[in-house]
Structures are given as C-alpha cells and as structure tokens.
C-alpha cells in the first residue's frame, strides 16, 4: 500500500501499462516504467513528474474508460503530481498552502499590491503616486527595492531548492548519478523543446481526439516570456550596480529588448494556456487543482501585463500606481513561487535528468527504503 489513494491508483495503472507497453514510443514515462517491476512512492512521484499530460496515451489506450480497466494515466499522474508538490514543499508548515492555492495566491497578491501602494504613499506623500517624472526610484529608493526583492527572491530560491532536494532524494536520483553534466544537458534540451508535450509527434490532446500543438506553443511563450523578463530584470540590476546606469532605459537597451517580447510572451502564453485549459476534456485533467493552475497562469499574466503597462505609462501621472501594482504582483509571485504550479518546472526538470541518467545506466534508480510503503 502507498501513502495515498492517488499513489495506489498510479501503482495499479503502472502494472496495467507494464503488461501492455503499446505506449512505449509516446513519451519518457513508459520506457521509465518498463525499467521497473514494482513501484515505490518515490518511483510514482518521479513518473508523475515525468508526465507532461499530453493525453496521447489516454486517447491511444484500448483500456481507457469506459473500458472496465479504467486506465487513465494523464489524469492519475496529474493527481499524483500535484500531491507531490505539496508533499515535498518546504517548510512543512507551508504545505497547506497547496490546499487552496488559488485563494492563497490571490490573497498574497492583493495584500502585496495594496502594501506597495500604501507603502509608497506613506513613504512619501500620496502625491508621488501621481507624479510625472518617470523616475522609479523617487518612489522607492533602488537599494530598498533591491533589498526587498533580493530577500524575497532568496527566500523563494531557498524554499524551491529545499523542496527539490526532498524530491531528488525520494526518487533516488543519486543512485544513478542523475546530476551529471550529460543528464543536465539532456534535460535542458528536453525542457527547452518540450520534447514530451508532442503526443509522440502530432501534438497533444485537448478538447477531443484531434491533436493540436497549441499548448506547446503557449507553454513556450509563457516559459520563454518568463525567462526574457527574468533576463530583463537581471540586466537592469547589472546596469544599475555595475555600470551605474539607473532606470529608465532606452528602447534599444537590453532590459527593454528582453522585457518587451518577454512581457508579450507572458501575456499571450498564459491566456492561451488558460483557454486551452477551459476546453480540455475533463477526463484528462485533475479538476480539483484547477484553482492552483489558474492562479499560476494569472500570476504570470499579471506580471507580464503590469510590466508592459508600466512601460507604457511610465511618463504619465499613472506611473506611481502602475509601478506599485507591478512591484506588488512580482513580490507576490516570488513569495508564492515555492507553493504553487511554478515548482512543476523544477520537478519536471529533475525527472528528466533522472530519466536521462537511467537511460545511460540502463537500470532504474534505487529509491531510499524509507520512501517505500
């Protein structure tokens, strides 16, 4: 027996799938499964995070519902996956955040935004919120801003790393040296191309059995949009501290060249993913976690949108409010990162590293015995 009903169901399915193996060419989950004969919790959490929920194995399965064997790998893996985010989260006291993640993120975001607006107003007099200078640091000195965001970013990083290490140990990644350079490089390539979100080549399954590649496209826009925005912020920080070039920056500066397409990606990508989510067959998803996934997309969208709005409004009287809102959103994003859908990227990356290492070693990872039921 496993720790949860979802893990028990995943175990049942992996036994069915292991005796069929028709799906072995579709993605990494099935070849990884074939290396094993029995499944500990750590194995199932690994396989669940290796699954990209493309839906191909569901549409192709001769045993999916209404067949009496009721084989639904994408949905079961989605449930195990979201359970795993909660299970590995650090510190343990914050694990309940995952229960009502959407609500929690909304509250944190609202409080952060309000806090920044209020803070600006209290720091200076309220008129700064309506000034037209276009100078951000009159509202909040750069060092304060950097300190505040540096602290919250460090906390987010720490919490994510600690959670990731919990996952890494539980899936036995060390037993096949999954942290090798080759494994990392293979995982980078797989992540960068979303290799396993292609349904084995034709795209993934959303509203019906006709595959499309939309989700991959929107995921790319979101992912690369986020990376570009991250690059924009990083280059801005370097400009400020290394070259002593304070914001605002010109249109051809690196922060702008990264930030504008990044912001557009973060607006278009999450909207596309959200619309795809609304149309997705109920059979394929973990509906109970709709709130978590929507909150994540909303935060990404809000980050991109408020960033773009700020750029447009920065020389108007609305700059103060726009800046406060953007900073509030980004602050909330950082704070909630370790306790929401954002972590899927890290766990999936870790799972892909382990998969690459297992392929190379031609044997499965050995999960720590404490992880066995």
């Amino acid at each position: 027996m496993h720790a949860t009903d979802h893990l028990n169901e995943a175990d049942r399915l992996m036994t069915v799938c292991n005796s069929c193996r028709y799906c072995e060419g579709l993605c990494a989950v099935f070849p990884a499964m074939e290396l094993r004969r029995s499944f500990a919790d750590g194995d199932l959490n690994y396989l669940a995070n290796l699954c990209h929920a493309c839906g191909a194995c569901y549409v192709d399965c001769q045993f999916s519902p209404p067949h009496e064997f009721q084989v639904n790998v994408p949905q079961t893996m989605a449930k195990v996956r979201t359970d795993s985010y909660r299970h590995y989260a650090w510190p343990k006291a914050f694990q309940p955040m995952f229960e009502r993640n959407g609500l929690a993120i909304a509250i944190v975001a609202a409080l952060s935004v309000a806090g920044f607006i209020l803070g600006f107003a209290l720091w200076h007099d309220p008129s700064v919120l309506t000034g037209t200078s276009g100078e951000f640091y009159r509202l909040m000195p750069h060092n304060v801003m950097a300190g505040l965001f540096g602290a919250v970013a460090l906390y987010a990083l720490l919490a994510i790393v600690m959670g990731f290490l919990n996952f890494w140990r539980d899936i036995g990644a060390g037993s096949v040296s999954a942290a090798s350079g080759l494994s990392i490089w293979q995982a980078v390539k797989d992540v960068a191309s979303l290799r396993y979100l292609d349904g084995g080549g034709v795209g993934c399954y959303n509203a019906d059995e006709k595959p499309t590649d939309n989700r991959r496209l929107y995921h790319h826009l979101t992912f690369y949009g986020f990376l570009l925005c991250f690059a924009a912020t990083s280059t801005g920080t370097i400009y400020h501290y290394v070259f002593d070039w304070p914001a605002p920056y010109g249109w051809t500066s690196l922060p702008k060249l990264f930030g504008i397409p990044g912001g557009i990606g973060l607006v278009v990508g999450p909207v596309g993913l959200f619309l795809a989510k609304l149309k997705r067959q109920d059979d394929l998803v973990d509906k109970a976690k709709f709130g978590m996934e929507t909150a994540f997309l909303a935060m990404m969208f809000a980050t991109g949108l408020t960033g773009l709005v700020l750029m447009v409004l920065r020389e108007t009287s609305a700059m103060g409010i726009a800046l406060a809102v953007h900073l509030g959103v980004v602050f909330a994003l950082f704070l909630t990162m370790p306790y929401g859908k954002f972590v899927h990227g890290f766990y999936r990356f870790g799972a892909l590293m382990l998969y690459a290492a297992e392929r190379k070693a031609d044997r499965p990872a050995t999960v720590p015995t404490t992880a066995k039921a």
Binding site: T15, S19, C20, R21, C23, G25, R37, E68, G200, G201
Partner: protein
C-alpha cells in the same frame, strides 16, 4: 410507418483497419462513402484496437525496420504457419502489394515507432504502430473524416438486400430505428465471429462456454452469416479459431494484450487433476503461443495452471494479474483448489526427472527431464525455491477462420460459381483466404490494409462507372 433511408456510393460495413483503409481508398477515388460500425465510438475498430504491428515485405531497412524482408521470405513464413492452408496466388498477390502498404498507410496518417521493448523479436519484419492499434485507428478515422467519409457508430447491420449476387441495400439499426442504406457497392469488413459464443459452440461444443474472448463483444459475425446465407462462398474451417492460453481471471470480453502469459516455458502446466498434459519446453513461447489455447480447451473445465518457482519470476513480461503465491507446493495446491497430494506428486516426480544442464531460456538449452510420460524437453528446472507461484489459464479466443471467398480484386465469390458484381470484402471476414490456419504476428493487419485498399478502390470504381 415511414422507413428512414440513406444512400451512398460505397457502403463500408465494419470499423476496423480494413474498413477504414477501404473507406479512405474509395473516398480518394471520388466516391461518396458511408461507414457503419456496430460498436459504440469507444469500441470502434474491432480487433484492430488490440493490435500492435503489421508485417510488410520490404527490400531494405527503414527508419523503423532493422533489415530487409523479402517477398520470398514473407511467403515462406506464411507457408510455414499455415501449413499450406492458404490460397497461394492470393497470398503472393497480397505480399507483393504489402511492399507499398507501409508508405500508403503512413500517408493516411498512421505513425510507426522503432521496435523497442517486450519479448517479441520482430524488429526486422514488423512495423510497430506508435501508440498501438487504437492510435492507428484514430489516425485513420481522422483522415477519413477530413476526406469527408461519413461514419455512423452504434449501427449494426441487421439485414442485407442481395439480388442475384448483386448488393442493393443494407438495413442498419441506428438509434432504435431500422434505416435502409442503399449503395452502389458494398465493402464488408465486419470481422469474424469470435465473440459469438453460440456460434463457437457449433465447433467446440459446450466447452466454448468457458472460453474468454480477447477482443470486443461486437465481433459477432452477423454480417458474415448473412453473406453466407445469401450465396457467398465460404472459406476456412468453420470449427476453428485462434486460441491462446490467457489468465483465467481476465474479463469475459476485451481483456486484450495484458491478460497474456508467456511463462509456460519456465515451469510446468497442470490441469485441474494436477496432471501435466504437454511438453512445456517444446519450443520458444512466441512459436508455441497458439497451441496452448487449444491444449487447455481440451482439459477438464477448460482450465489449467502454470506453476513455477521464485527463480523464474522475473524472466518474463509482467502481466495484469499478480501470480498466486505460496510457501509450499501443498499450500499452493490448496489456494488453487487442486488436489494437494496429486500436485505434490506431480511436482516431486517432475523434480526427480530433471537432468543436470545449463539453463538458458534464449536458446534450446540442455535442461530436460528423463523418464516421464510427458517429458519437458528444454528449460526444465526443479521447482524447489519458495515462494511458489501459479497462474490459472483458460483459452483466450483471438479470431476465427471462417470467411468469404474472394478474388484478387477482393470481390466476393458465389458458392454457385463466379464473382459477385459489387460486393467486396476485406479484413478478418476474408482472412481465411490467406490464413487458413495458424498465425504470424502482424499478418492480420497486412490482410486488412492490403485488401481494404483493394476493396475500397474496386468498390469506388464500380460505383462511379
């Protein structure tokens, strides 16, 4: 009462690989095509949904095939498995046509994967569908729909109007009403009758009650029966079917691939009197796969038990149900409801007869028994390492051999002599022309694709001229 009516150029009855290849081929020739599938949408495609690969001749290795497989070699393989029960001209015609099927079927959206795992060593001869047979079907249906082929599900044909060897119309039961579908030509691709227990009993007697059917409950052979009743010439042995030994705990219908067991060679097989009844080490499992269904069907209550010990547990593909296990042979007999003493005696006698040898299940090794009434001629090892394991097995029926005789154009032949004018058949319903006995992996799909395409094109030509 007003009768509902439909009309089309080509009516395809059935919904599997052969039916869809026919529908697509006919549509590409410009005909209006209607497919009526008896099953609900999920179960569409009959046995195709449980298939995995297809065998085609090819002159060179490809992305998905490890080497050439010539027409001659394919013919030799077919001759061997059928023991000559095949229409040579038709079979060779099919093998020649199979060479371009891989290209054609890929053009219809079907995708193949490199042969990866499992215990089958078919990487050179057979192309594996990416995602399996249902994925292949999904691709064919998508293509058919894009081309404008109409498909009706839950639409079993209940009657055929055939006049002097010429098809006029079919009556299908759709949504609780009888609909008359007139068509200029017919492609019958409605499979065999393996899910029709009453029909199986005609050949097997009451034993058939204990058979498990590996595919859908929809393969009842109703259309085949109507065709034969309307003067179409039969081919194939009506009493025969392809039977393998599968897990006795499998559902009555549609257990599919995951109920198969390939551990016979590692242990002994006993009937419900705890007696062995055949040489478990006669040949490699894939080659002997099809004999154990028949062997078990001949045993009392049509049940048998594969018994092995701890050292063999991980030497074969896992299956759906866990083996029944016990720490002693006596306890195992008790759990299986077998006579305890008899099983202990059988195992003891077997163990005593095992000769020294070096075990290697990948070759015909020298591990054998000596002095038994039924020897185990290879891979014989003592059952002595607890825990002991057992799988109960029953005959699992895959397909039947009786069908409609056809010519090279897939045109049905009349029992009274001569070809029908506008009636074609493809797939399992005419597979007996090529495969009168035995089976080789992937041949069913070859028959379906090749004759499906031929039938569809022939039907369209007839309808449009």
């Amino acid at each position: 009462m007003k009768c509902e009516r439909l009309d089309t150029d080509v009516l395809v009855v059935g919904g599997g690989n052969a039916a869809l290849c026919a529908a697509i081929a006919a549509r590409r020739k410009g005909a209006r095509v209607l497919v009526v599938e008896a099953a609900p949408k999920f179960y569409r495609g009959g046995n195709t949904r449980h298939t995995r690969n297809m065998r085609c001749a090819h002159d060179t290795a490809t992305e998905t095939l490890t080497g050439p497989y010539t027409e001659e070699e394919f013919w030799d393989d077919l001759l061997r498995v059928t023991e000559g029960n095949t229409d040579e001209a038709l079979a060779k015609h099919m093998i020649a046509a199979s060479k371009e099927m891989l290209t054609w079927i890929t053009e219809q959206g079907v995708r193949f994967q490199p042969s990866l795992g499992g215990t089958l060593s078919l990487g050179r001869t057979n192309s594996f569908f990416l995602g399996g047979g249902r994925a292949m079907l999904n691709a064919l249906y998508l293509t058919a729909e894009k081309l404008g082929v109409d498909v009706l599900y839950d639409a079993p044909v209940t009657a055929l109007e055939i006049d002097g060897g010429s098809f006029r119309a079919a009556i299908a039961r759709i949504g609780g009403r009888d609909v008359r579908i007139a068509a200029k030509s017919l492609v019958a691709a409605a499979g065999g009758f393996e899910a029709n227990i009453d029909w199986l009993k005609e050949g097997w007697g009451e034993r058939a009650e204990n058979f498990l059917i590996r595919g859908t409950p929809c393969n009842r052979g109703d259309v085949l029966k109507m065709l034969l009743a309307n003067g179409v010439e039969a081919i194939g042995d009506p009493t025969q079917c392809h039977a393998v030994a599968i897990d006795a705990r499998a559902p009555k219908f549609d257990g599919g691939i995951i109920t198969r067991l390939d551990c016979v060679v590692f242990g002994i097989v006993v009937n419900r009197h705890a007696e062995r009844f055949y040489d478990e080490g006669e040949d490699f499992w894939p080659k002997r796969y099809a004999i154990w269904g028949r062997l078990v069907a001949a045993q009392p209550d049509q049940i048998a038990y594969i018994i092995f010990d701890a050292k063999s547990l991980k030497l074969f593909m896992p299956s759906l149900f866990p083996p029944i296990s016990a720490d002693s042979i006596g306890e195992l007999a008790h759990k299986l409801d077998l006579p305890v003493e008899a099983l202990e005696t059988t195992v003891g006698t077997f163990n005593a007869a095992v000769q020294p040898g070096s075990f290697d299940h990948t070759v015909f090794d020298d591990c054998r028994t000596r002095g038994l009434a039924i020897e185990k001629t290879h891979w014989a090892r003592r059952l002595e390492d607890p825990p002991f394991y057992a799988y109960p097995v029953r005959p699992g029926i895959t397909f039947t051999y009786l069908g409609t005789r056809v010519d090279r154009e897939a045109r049905m032949q009349l029992a009274a002599g001569g070809a029908t004018g506008n009636m074609f058949s493809a797939g399992e319903i005419m597979a007996g022309n090529v495969l009168g006995k035995g089976y080789a992996a992937g041949v069913g799909m070859t028959i379906g694709s090749v004759f499906g395409r031929i039938a569809g094109e022939g039907a369209a030509n007839h309808a449009c001229n």
